[in-house]
């Protein structure tokens, strides 16, 4: 144990030295980008975030212009933490950008000691969201969300709702929903969306929360019944699915993926990146790919994204202090 401890101290020091922004002349926004831009993501190749990054990169190159090159770099680690940390510690010269998964990157510093904080980043723009949705098996007695809520009220704590991992976006969304409609239920934290959805298909749980994008193919085929999703507006890909709001439950929650740079990156560069994101998302060719991959596009330019994340950070901080989801 002593050895391990010393080694972790050593590696911490080593990382600190490496991460200290080198004393170099300030990157000039005029000559940027002077070399390929690294797009850091905290998840492995082949996952949802990775595919989004690799789909986006060529469009960003096109709309940044000037022969800009973007390379996706995977730094997988627990819940994305290693990737977030590396982004926070990278040189703020615009040659390292990264994908932030909210609320994951916000919750981790509340839950445990981290080497980055909310303030380590400058936010560029949001790309896509995945609003949480509540689903049941088609054979379920619940036809509407009201019926589900009524049953849960009549049988406090007896309803089993599956979700992905303690502290995950879908967990927080489920908690927000339960608080709003004032029910108690048994939350079942599966190790990922896939086992959660499988358990619902096999009727091992009564209801299940996952992203509407991951529900869509099954809802379309009638293998899953969607009772509502937690977005502000309906979604073209699944026009019959109702939002929770229009069913009288005012809750908007889910996960978001957007771009960020390390704090201290020149403002001009951030602005250029943000403009390129907006142009990429509006690109018809990108929109075709987004539809194929069932991405819920949620463009948010720089100022709006910042305000949104700041609000989310305050809300999650308050939740954690009042009623931590992990005891």
């Amino acid at each position: 144990m002593m050895r391990l401890h010393r080694r972790s101290l050593l590696s911490a020091t080593a990382m600190g030295v490496l991460a200290t922004p080198a004393i170099a002349p300030h990157a000039s926004a005029q000559t940027w980008p002077s070399r390929p831009i690294e797009l850091l993501i905290g998840f492995a190749a082949g996952g949802g975030t990775d595919i989004l990054a690799r789909t986006l990169a060529p469009f960003m190159e096109k709309h940044l212009g000037g022969g800009a090159r973007i390379g996706v770099v995977n730094r997988p680690g627990p819940g994305g933490e290693i990737g977030f940390t590396q982004l926070a510690q990278a040189r703020p010269d615009g040659h390292t950008i990264g994908m932030l998964n909210a609320p994951a990157f916000i919750t981790i510093p509340h839950e445990r000691r981290t080497r980055y904080t909310f303030e380590s980043f400058e936010f560029v723009a949001n790309l896509v969201s995945d609003p949480a949705s509540i689903n049941v098996h088609p054979s379920s007695e619940f036809q509407t969300i009201d019926q589900l809520v009524a049953w849960a009220k009549a049988n406090p704590g007896r309803m089993t709702i599956g979700m992905q991992g303690t502290g995950s976006a879908m967990h927080l969304a489920t908690l927000a929903f339960m608080r709003k409609v004032d029910i108690r239920a048994t939350l079942v934290p599966f190790p990922g969306t896939a086992p959660n959805r499988t358990a619902l298909l096999g009727r091992h749980i009564m209801a299940s929360t996952f992203g509407i994008g991951e529900a869509a193919p099954f809802v379309k085929e009638g293998q899953i019944r969607n009772l509502g999703f937690m977005a502000a507006n309906r979604w073209d890909e699944l026009p019959d699915a109702k939002t929770m709001r229009e069913q009288g439950i005012d809750v908007v929650a889910g996960s978001d993926r957007g771009l960020a740079v390390p704090a201290g990156t020149p403002t001009e560069i951030i602005e250029r990146l943000s403009t390129a994101v907006t142009a990429s998302l509006a690109d018809p060719e990108f929109q075709v790919k987004a539809r194929e991959q069932l991405l819920f596009l949620a463009p948010m330019p720089r100022a709006e994204y910042r305000t949104y994340l700041t609000g989310l950070n305050e809300e999650i901080g308050r939740l954690w202090r009042e009623d931590p989801w992990r005891r």
Binding site: H5, S8, R54, P191, H204, E221
Partner: protein, 498 residues
């Protein structure tokens, strides 16, 4: 189904696609043979390159890598007692003793033939039986998975070696290693020492490479120091033909293929469990169980057939329900998504030609293993043993470092590997078996998290763990596996006394 299949065939045999399968299979065998590198990693590296390709070209390469790597893992397992992939652990048990006897080429041929048979059986199950089999998948909830994991853990009994106490200690060590990291159910960190590198848990490939690959390297180095440099280790006997004496494996192949397919359709179990169970069953059914671990040919056949039979079957829930059962199937689903193929119920209807094409590719790449594995690679690779130890040791070490680094692009993992290497060396010297450690790492987490999920769902009611028919069947199988050796022992004693 026939319509879909027939439509798919012309596409599969277009020359670009045949080339893709060949390249994929050869690449897969090499990737699998290198310790630390796995099919998951090979396909992950490939995916960004497939953006511009036709779907079937990309999928053909993926199918080749997937099947090839599962066989490739057997090559270093036989030659150096280093499993190239976690699923090849059981192959070391009999493959290495055979290589020591000078029968390395024969052992590789058995692995190759068995991999092909397992892979083909599995691909046929995928093509013909996907819709009914996927219904079986859905019968398994957390309670049922818990029992499957326990069933797998029971196979520890054949891995214990000569000293059961040491074997059990090794298994417990594996279970302990499996608890490191953030616990998904409660969200708490366990044994992470506040280090984010440990928060994600210990990657099984890192543990495996450290425990298995480094001790043989140390021993090669010792060996080199003892002997004159420039001298090879083993005597190589000329191998008999590839198909020599294959009839004696028929029973083994049937049994192991069925086990592999059954494990394949259960998401989350994986090729390692298939190999462990197939090996266990083979030993249990054998008339001469004591010869296992001494270089029994059927032991190799069972392990290699079992792990390849897991491959295509694991795609059944992946393709029909969008449920990836393992890291590698998750990556393959990602690859499908890039080509606009959304996995799930509509896939077969909307993109039947591509999906059936991919299934046929799984079948063909299984057969390709015979050509590139059996005819070429076995002879080529067996000559590795002619390389002088003084050269071989640093080469293998270099490959291990690169392989482990590439798992998560992490230098920390390389240090971990060296740490486990020292532990593995000590265990080897103290005659502790290594296989139970891997079994513990692979299955401990699965057993634990599913037990807890099942109890959460049952709201603390233990009876519900045994209430479903599927649970009862699995429990019955566990009891049979545990009871048979006892009864046999009794009978043998009685006969001996009489």
């Amino acid at each position: 189904m026939w319509d879909g299949l027939l439509h798919a065939i012309p596409g599969v045999f277009a020359w670009q696609n045949v080339l893709a399968m060949v390249v994929g299979t050869i690449g897969g065998i090499v990737i699998g043979a290198l310790p630390g590198l796995s099919a998951t990693m090979g396909i992950a590296v490939l995916i960004p390159l497939t953006f511009g390709m036709e779907p079937l070209v990309a999928l053909g390469m993926m199918a080749g890598i997937y099947n090839g790597a599962m066989y490739g893992g057997a090559i270093p397992a036989v030659l150096l007692r280093i499993p190239g992939t976690p699923a090849a652990v059981c192959t070391t048990l009999d493959g290495y003793p055979m290589a020591q006897r000078g029968d390395a080429a024969r052992a590789l041929q058995i692995s190759c033939l068995s991999s092909t048979v397992g892979g083909m059986a599995s691909a046929i199950a995928l093509i013909a039986l996907a819709p009914p089999l996927v219904q079986v998948t859905l019968l398994f909830g957390p309670a049922e998975y818990f029992w499957v994991a326990v069933f797998g853990l029971c196979s520890v009994s054949v891995l214990l070696g000569k000293d059961p106490v040491k074997g059990l200690i090794a298994a417990c060590f594996g279970l302990l290693l499996g608890t490191v990291g953030i616990d998904g159910v409660s969200g708490h960190e366990r044994f992470t020492f506040d280090d984010m590198n440990l928060a994600g848990g210990l990657h099984v490939v890192v543990v495996l490479t450290g425990l298995y690959a480094l001790p043989p390297i140390f021993m090669l180095a010792e060996d080199a120091a003892r002997r004159k440099a420039g001298e090879g280790m083993a005597v190589l006997r000329a191998s008999v033909g590839l198909f020599h004496g294959w009839t004696k494996f028929i029973r083994t192949w049937i049994r192991s293929s069925l086990i592999g397919i059954a494990i394949g359709i259960l998401p989350g179990a994986g090729g390692s469990l298939a190999a462990f169970l197939a090996y266990n069953e083979e030993k249990r059914a054998s008339k001469d169980p004591d010869s296992f671990g001494q270089g029994n040919e059927n032991g190799i056949a069972a392990a290699e057939c079992g792990n390849n039979a897991d491959n295509a079957a694991a795609l059944i829930p992946a393709l029909t329900l969008g449920i990836p059962g393992s890291a590698v199937t998750a990556i393959i689903l990602g690859g499908l998504l890039i080509h606009g193929l959304q996995p799930g119920p509509a896939l077969f209807r909307d993109h039947g030609d591509v999906v059936y094409g991919f299934m046929i590719q799984m079948l063909i790449t299984s057969v390709l293993i015979i050509f590139f594995g059996g005819v070429v690679a076995s002879r080529l690779f067996a000559n590795v043993l002619r390389i002088p130890s003084a050269l071989l040791a640093p080469c293998v070490l270099g490959l291990c470092v690169v392989g482990v680094y590439s798992v998560q692009d992490s230098m920390f993992d390389v240090y971990l590997m060296f740490g486990f290497g020292l532990i593995g060396y000590a265990m080897d010297r103290l005659r502790f078996p290594l296989a139970p450690v891997v079994l513990g790492v692979v299955l401990g987490g699965m057993a634990e998290s599913n037990l807890r999920l099942a109890l959460i769902i049952a709201q603390g009611d233990y009876i519900q763990l045994v209430s479903s028919v599927v649970s009862q069947i699995v429990i019955a199988m566990i009891l049979v596996v545990l009871a048979v050796p006892l009864i046999r022992g009794r009978l043998a004693k009685r006969v001996g006394l009489g």
